[in-house]
Symmetry: C2
Subunit: 540 residues, 2 copies
């Protein structure tokens, strides 16, 4: 079956026919939601969260076919093979063992015949000891002052997941510690942070698997120059999170501590490894980091073990493929009704789009469908006052609404119009999903709503570290389940290489011009030459 184009599979064709049927007026969501026991039949609790897909454009026939698709594609088996260390990242011949990063049992997990659990646990213990030593003052800056600012130097997968979790758990953080992210090579990212910190009380965490990432190394050089200018020795103010034997794990480049990351955990899946573990343990405490792991582990087990019709991330993956490949929605909104989850969408944007924005199958055959969708989002109710005009009356796109039952700052509430702010937030959460689905006829054309716009609601009980771990793992599992359906490799990213290669050639020209101001830029590409000259001529 794998050597045939997706669209020729019998189950794919059945789903296509169902999609045509769903365009009929009687399958408008305003009718579907009125089915008996709609919510009971189209929602699931699992892995510690609640997933409601009752306002997705599916009926029992569609769900039957989608479950058949899941079966045909052996999704659960593949997920378990992934967790057991199979080299599912075929192009790079690597395992994808982010789930091992949050395993607490000692049950072995083998990569190339070697159990990875001991080294994972060793790193965890090292993080615990380091964070405690910083918190109790055993480890201080060179001038004997405690660390007050932590700057994480890292980009992409070494940044977005940690930023999401840190923002979500900010209410639990040590108020004396400020966390900064130095990701962009843009000097203004560095300049802005440098203007707000004191070198003597700053700890820098450099995160790069290879320790060669261009942006990260350029920012590290800025940081070292800053430390030097302020008379602070880097080996007392800098820790590294990197691969064994990378340049960041070399006594020639001394650091306060080095934590290992492993090639069987990809960047965008690495929040629960040392990548997230070091900064998050310093920010909210190691115990809370461990709680994140426990929540993620619970969801991993659910994803691996729950039967497909009760499996929340698997159902979410099926619905996502349905919306994308059959109903034709090319974008997906992620709208958390929680300001603490403001960085969820940027994280999922990377996780999903870098994993599933692929053009070929693992056999190297061109895909005959478009795999990933474009993911974007902002918190609600903000989004209602931003782009929801289009969501209701323009081009439709599916939305994942995320609700949080108990807020962080719940004790501070006064009422307006008889309800607390949190209740007002929920009134809107409930109303939006309903309004998008039902629509409304009206005499005035501008007040007419076509409805039939699909959405899901995902509920977390609160913003505990466990729940943050659960939702992280939920979206990771959903992402890889979708990849397994399409038979693509969600763990590589060769699509970023061409831009890097071209940037490298341009950098070389700039470096030549820096050395020799008389150097004339190559004019085979006049556009490129124009921009290079613009960059140089602007110089004062």
């Amino acid at each position: 079956m794998n050597d045939q184009a997706l669209t020729s599979w019998p189950i794919w064709q059945k789903l296509r026919s169902s999609a045509e049927k769903m365009e009929l007026p009687e399958y408008h969501l305003k009718h579907l939601v009125n089915q008996d026991n709609r919510l009971e039949n189209y929602s699931v609790s699992g892995g510690g969260l609640f997933y409601d897909y009752s306002r997705q454009r599916v009926d029992s026939q569609v769900m039957g076919y989608l479950l058949e698709l899941a079966d045909t594609r052996s999704l659960s088996e593949k997920f378990n093979q992934m967790m057991a260390g199979a080299h599912v990242n075929v192009t790079e011949d690597r395992a994808a063992l982010h789930t091992a990063a949050r395993q607490f049992s000692n049950e072995p997990v083998y990569d190339n015949g070697r159990d990875v659990i001991p080294e994972i646990k060793a790193v965890r213990n090292q993080i615990k000891a380091f964070a405690q030593a910083v918190h109790n003052g055993e480890i201080k800056g060179a001038a004997g002052l405690p660390f007050r600012d932590i700057v994480v130097i890292g980009i992409g997968g070494s940044y977005l997941g940690t930023e999401f979790v840190a923002t979500a758990l900010e209410g639990l953080a040590d108020k004396r510690i400020n966390l900064h992210f130095l990701s962009n090579v843009d000097i203004d990212n560095f300049g802005r942070i440098a203007s707000r910190i004191s070198a003597e009380t700053t700890l820098w965490i450099v995160i790069s698997k290879s320790y060669t990432t261009t942006e990260t190394m350029a920012n590290l050089n800025q940081a070292k120059a800053f430390m030097k200018a302020n008379g602070v020795p880097p080996e007392k103010h800098l820790v590294t999170v990197t691969s064994k034997k990378s340049p960041g794990d070399d006594p020639e480049n001394p650091a306060l501590a080095t934590f290992h990351m492993f090639d069987y955990i990809g960047g965008r899946f690495s929040v629960t490894s040392a990548v997230g573990g070091v900064p998050l343990s310093l920010y909210v405490g190691y115990d809370r980091f461990e709680k994140i792991l426990k929540g993620a582990e619970e969801m991993d087990r659910h994803a691996a073990e729950a039967p497909i019709q009760k499996n929340a991330p698997l159902l979410a993956a099926l619905i996502s493929v349905w919306n994308n490949n059959f109903l034709g929605y090319e974008t997906q909104g992620i709208i958390p009704y929680s300001s603490m989850l403001s960085k969820l969408a940027p994280h999922i944007q990377q996780l999903y789009m870098e994993s599933n924005g692929k053009a070929v199958t693992i056999q190297g055959m061109p895909l005959d469908i478009d795999s990933g969708v474009i993911v974007f989002g902002e918190p609600g109710t903000n989004a209602q006052h931003s782009f929801f005009q289009l969501a209701h009356q323009g081009r439709p796109f599916p939305i994942d609404f995320i609700g949080v039952v108990d807020p962080v700052y719940g004790e501070e509430q006064v009422t307006s119009k008889g309800v607390t702010n949190h209740q007002e937030l929920w009134a809107n959460l409930i109303a939006q999903s309903q309004a998008l689905a039902l629509g409304k006829a009206d005499r005035n054309p501008e007040s007419t709503f076509s409805g039939n716009r699909p959405s899901a609601i995902i509920l977390l009980n609160d913003l505990s570290p466990e729940n943050i771990g659960r939702i992280l793992s939920f979206y990771e599992a959903k992402t890889v389940f979708e990849a397994f359906i399409w038979d693509i490799n969600p763990f590589d990213q060769f699509g970023v290489e061409l831009g890097k290669t071209m940037a490298s050639a341009i950098r070389d020209e700039i470096a030549r011009k820096n050395k020799n101001p008389g150097y004339e830029f190559d004019n085979r590409d006049p556009v490129r030459k124009f921009y290079l000259e613009t960059l140089f001529n602007s110089k004062p």
Copy 2:
């Protein structure tokens, strides 16, 4: 012509044929960019910025048709009518005079026969005097302490534009002043801010045209409770930006100052009115706010006066409609290669999607095309390490790259690989647009790039307040030009009403339950009832 469906217009059909032609291999961007004088012929300097569309999928025939479309639709005339006070917001019978907010001459602009310039200038003078009095210490908090934290209470158009500008100009801000945005009704938005400020040194700016916006009023009540609990009188710590005679402009609700906003300037176009003026003048100084206005005014004049083939926002609008309605791209990326512009995309997301996500023409006829696209974006190079895998090898989407010739913190640069951080940033900016356009053949399927992915580059010389004003106005003009092409009203937002109405009914039920804990929720909609019960049962 206006009473006929767009798709039946002869020029629309000519563009359709051209779009088919552009799918032929010989029209791949890798060939188009090699045309003689491609950059010179497909770029324009105007209104103080540079717009390069040489890597858009257009040729001279397409551009000819697009210019004909612009002519047929009388875009320049409509823009000038808008600036002259015509009631282009037909559903609400209002003018759209955001351009008057930055007019410096005394030339009258009439709305309903009344010159609006005097009242606009009066508000500007009032802002200037107020900001100066705060900065020189004449106006202080009730306890005699200077203001150190400014909290802007406002949502949507009362928030996103100001946040964009404040972030962009942060390097110029008074370091003693922290600016916070309390937009979301989520109590965690308030709680997070309240945990970081001191009531005695905090100034609250409440921004709401009607002074009835639910979120803003709920947050105002939180703020008042906070002030009361800390013994601080609101009339000494709160200013309002609101319509004449709204409840926020009523001596019954005393405030330190009240600044007027006018119904001829819509929220998402209001950054250059008192909405942005009050917070920005306090944050970066009134003089800099005036420079923003001057930059915006320059671009307004360019948009109104430049011939269509030299008109940057008009060309950008034509390209956008071409990409959307003819080439079939449903999303638009906004990728500024500048971390200071990190809030540009969320602002444009609102500006564009709320304006152009419409389903009917101004005559109330259903549109036979989809108007607005979905706008999203993050800064580069960050985006390269996040979702650019999909941009290069997945579903294609057009991108506006924004480059800044001189950075804010340029003096801090050390070199890596022979180049400064800023040069590295530019090497990537140049490379990405090139890589997306050209693509690359490769023996390995996963390293094959189809190319032919369109993008534009917009250059700003630096992040001066004038340039921020220019890019604000550029996107505003582009947005309304597109609306004029489709004959939709970009100034109303009836699409947000249904959700509000439904939320209001849900709020009423919650309020009843708060009063009477025995109240049983309406069970006609079991999904709604389920969520309401979940919200209440969670209570400790």
